[in-house]
Symmetry: C2
Subunit: 140 residues, 2 copies
């Protein structure tokens, strides 16, 4: 995929990211997240009390995959080390953008403002290491 | 969700599983997999040379999430320890069932037989520990 195709794939519709972390005891964890592409980062929010929030505090290495769940099937995997911000102003802008993507323009402000509060983490995963497979039918 | 709803959610259409493992160096990895529900197991195949194949040999603890990527958004997360089989007869039945789900009845035999070969692993993740959230809009 070209860079434009990659970004288009990641931002298509309401596709969610499946975000994987390693728990302190070594077990993997994965959960869907609402995210947007901001520059070269995938950006999403999570509460500091969630499994992913706690796991990231322990080990910031992470992976996020987005896929097309129909023929010809395809996916983009991003791996790297996250950075975390608790700055509420920075969080608010991203929170509104995320809400716009997943809940629509009409709900963007309401959802965005409700989620950008103390206790939430703004997580950035830089697109440094990317694997893109644009036709995986028949592969595994 | 009831047990029937859970199974229906997992088996709806061509939803893929996002399967997470921990690499030997502790980094998380996640990749989409084609799977079916067989009894109380989620069953899929992978090559022994893939990241997930190699990671599972090192640590069989895993997690798999399936989600609905549209309002009201929902997901099912299964966590546990996998078992692995390289028995080609057992593999063939599952391989055909998996191909039927994702490539259609007309391709089930061809894809199924092509994939059930030496070097492939049949992976079973028992549905012992399940988290089901059937409306996550507004949550994170």
């Amino acid at each position: 995929m070209t860079d434009a195709e990659l970004r288009g794939f990641l931002m298509a519709g309401t596709r969610t990211g499946k975000f994987a972390t390693t728990r302190p005891d070594g077990r993997p964890h994965v959960a869907p997240v609402w995210f947007v592409v901001d520059g070269d980062d995938l950006v999403f929010m999570t509460n500091s009390a969630t499994v992913k929030g706690r796991s990231l505090r322990h080990d910031p290495r992470a992976a996020l995959v987005v896929d097309l769940e129909a023929p010809p099937y395809a996916f983009v995997l991003v791996e790297g080390t996250v950075s975390i911000s608790e700055d509420l102003d920075e969080m608010l802008d991203q929170s509104i953008a995320i809400a716009r993507r997943y809940m629509g323009e009409e709900n963007a402000q309401t959802y965005g403002r409700r989620n950008a509060v103390a206790g939430e983490l703004l997580v950035r995963l830089r697109m440094d290491h990317v694997v893109a497979v644009d036709n995986m039918a028949g592969h595994d």
